[in-house]
């Protein structure tokens, strides 16, 4: 019967429907065009910036590949010689240490752009070095490099660069120097000061997350029972408490930890403690909701069964409720710790302590190699936390 009724209904409708459909489709397209057109404008989409900006981002990307992790002590030999770029001004006379390496230049008066041949002797054999141009106020500019031979000698050519002549420009500004700097590493490889600081801060980050998570667990476990529908909605008072708890969770959860961190840095000052409070407060809500939902999903069967044996309420909770929630509680908690480690890197950006704090400093000071060390450390620790939390969660379930 039904099968016959359907086609009949269809045949009476098509003309109107088809027309309406295409109009509706057109309208939909127009609305979508308007929405995305506006979106394009307000978000100031600027695709060419992706290509014109590469030169700004390149040093950072390059340095990402060579983080400042290991270092060695270096020893160096430095010899300077005075050069004048103005024939009217005599070059500076710098006395050479007769026992040290010796330097000779083709001329000590060399205008900007002219070539200069540098000959060195008595340097450490088979050592590489850099030639720096040094202006009146001591700014160094690399102008070439060299490699000494078995006798410790080298020959290099340098083009005289145009440099800032200093505030007291005038004639004296022409008096500049050529610095020959040979250096070689000595002693064993060791962690660079940056690496040591990064390690210290990453440990601080992990512990910041641990303290915040622990604080949240202590509050969220008891609260989660108050936010479990199956336990609380048996009488009007309980129902009220249930809704209050759930609203508290929902409101708190909707406030980003970053905003909480800003509030707490104002309250307790910059540093990891503000981060602990921010993560802790946010995690109370996040964990409380997960815990409550876990309690709501427990099987009432075992509770009924243990009650039927004549057990007291405490025994019922211990033997029928706890075994059903503990593994998930552990899993949720470890997952939250993992999330908090990730969040605490961002929280550092607003002064909440941890590695984010120094990462932001490195970026602001354009110390990209140091920033790279921090970025890699974060990636490593977050990856490891992610892996181990997954393993432990799997075991717990």
């Amino acid at each position: 019967m039904k099968e016959q009724a359907l086609p009949a209904q269809r045949s009476s409708l098509p003309p109107l429907r088809a027309g309406f459909r295409s109009v509706r489709f057109l309208l939909l397209v127009l609305v979508l065009v308007a929405i995305y057109g506006y979106g394009w404008r307000v978000t100031k989409v600027d695709l060419p910036a992706l290509t014109t900006g590469t030169k700004f981002v390149r040093p950072f990307v390059v340095d990402l590949a060579r983080p400042d992790v290991l270092t060695r002590e270096t020893k160096s030999q430095d010899v300077q010689i005075g050069i004048s770029t103005n024939p009217a001004v005599p070059p500076e006379q710098i006395p050479l240490d007769p026992t040290g390496p010796q330097l000779r230049v083709s001329t000590t008066v060399a205008p900007v752009g002219s070539m200069l041949t540098v000959t060195g002797m008595g340097f450490r054999p088979e050592t590489s070095g850099t030639l720096f141009w040094v202006n009146r106020i001591g700014n160094r500019q690399p102008v070439g490099s060299f490699q000494t031979d078995l006798q410790g000698a080298f020959v290099a050519t340098v083009t005289v660069p145009e440099v800032f002549q200093g505030p007291d420009a005038g004639a004296q500004g022409a008096q500049q120097r050529l610095l020959v700097h040979a250096s070689w590493p000595v002693g064993p490889l060791r962690f660079s000061p940056t690496m040591v600081l990064v390690a210290e801060k990453i440990v601080e980050t992990v512990f910041l997350a641990l303290m915040g998570t622990t604080m949240a667990v202590i509050v969220a476990v008891p609260l989660s029972f108050l936010g479990a529908r199956n336990l609380m909605t048996r009488n009007p008072l309980g129902t009220t408490i249930y809704y209050l708890t759930r609203s508290y969770f929902n409101i708190l959860r909707s406030i980003e930890p970053l905003i909480l961190a800003i509030i707490f840095t104002v309250w307790v000052g910059l540093g990891p403690f503000a981060g602990v409070l921010a993560l802790g407060l946010h995690s109370i809500a996040a964990l409380g909701k997960l815990y409550s939902e876990q309690i709501e999903s427990i099987d009432p069967g075992p509770i009924e069964a243990i009650t039927a044996t004549g057990a007291k309420p405490l025994q019922v909770v211990r033997y029928a409720v706890v075994p059903q929630i503990v593994p998930q509680f552990i899993a949720f908690t470890i997952y939250r710790w993992d999330v908090n480690v990730r969040l605490s890197t961002v929280i550092g950006f607003v002064g909440g302590g941890g590695i984010g704090f120094i990462l932001q400093q490195y970026i602001n000071l354009l110390q990209y190699r140091q920033a790279a060390t921090a970025v890699w450390a974060i990636a490593l620790v977050v990856g490891a936390m992610d892996y181990f939390s997954a393993v432990i969660r799997e075991r717990a379930m």
Binding site: P302, A305, T309, G310, A311, K312, Q315, Y319, A320
Partner: protein, 256 residues
């Protein structure tokens, strides 16, 4: 151990939503009887079982266990009476993530100080009792296994061992084999029968299949829409009675 006598007088249960589950039910169970309760799903079998140990509070009427009116008891007194009433469930109701042994030991909680629960402590003789009961239901080697690793039949035997820990004088079995296959059903019911015959424990057991009811029951009570429509010997259920209990369209299914 000796069986308890049960007397139910004018038992009525109306749920909060107005559903009438039991209407003015009256019957008695003699010590050592194996009373099988049959009836369609929703006929009130489960509610009746749960009223007897007061997991559900009756709306009216009285229930006497060995001449004690349990409907008049307060929570603490009722808890003490419950200790002697074992209950077996359709879904076994074991705590899945804990060991079989702990599940069995949980049957003894009513006799133990609650503070021990915080330390998960059970005295040695209780552990021995649990092992003896597991041996009795034929699965002593599963003691350390997690309950959810067991087959359905084994889980129900753990349920029986848990009930045995209570040293019960009455066993309430709420469709104990409804989740099991026919062969397993028999093996489980045989353990219940043994408790009834050997230990003289009174058994109230609800079942779906008439063939099982005939095989194990010493007496049959049929419930329909919260009322008793048959109370008598298994042999007395003929074709006409059967249609009365299960409806005109029902066909009796034999279970091997």
């Amino acid at each position: 151990m000796s069986g308890a006598a049960v007397r139910v007088e004018h038992l009525t249960k109306v749920y909060a939503d107005g559903t009438v589950a039991l209407r003015d039910l009256s019957f008695g169970v003699a010590p050592g009887e194996f009373l099988v309760i049959i009836g369609l799903s929703g006929s009130g079998k489960s509610t009746l079982m749960r009223c007897i140990n007061r997991l559900i509070d009756p709306s009216g009427g009285k229930i006497y266990i060995d001449d004690i009116d349990i409907t008049a008891l307060d929570q603490e007194e009722m808890r003490k009476v419950r200790r002697r009433m074992g209950m077996i469930f359709q879904q076994f109701n074991l705590v899945k993530r804990t060991s079989v042994l702990t599940n069995v030991l949980a049957g003894r909680l009513g006799y133990l100080p609650p503070a021990w629960a915080l330390l998960n402590y059970f005295p040695k003789d209780e552990v021995n009792r649990a092992m003896a009961n597991l041996e009795r239901v034929g699965i002593p080697l599963k003691a350390r296994t997690r309950a959810d690793q067991l087959s359905g039949g084994q889980q129900q035997r753990v349920g029986i061992a848990r009930a045995l820990m209570q040293e019960p004088s009455l066993i309430l079995a709420d469709e104990p084999v409804a989740s099991l296959d026919p062969a397993t059903s028999h093996s489980v019911l045989k353990y219940v029968e043994e408790l009834n015959k050997k230990d003289g424990i009174t058994v109230l057991c609800s079942l779906h299949f008439l063939s099982l009811a005939r095989r194990y029951g010493t007496r049959i009570l049929a419930v329909k829409a919260g009322e008793i429509i048959f109370d008598g010997l298994p042999a007395d259920i003929d074709e006409e009675r059967f249609k009365q209990i299960y409806g005109e369209e029902a066909v009796e299914v034999e279970i091997a």
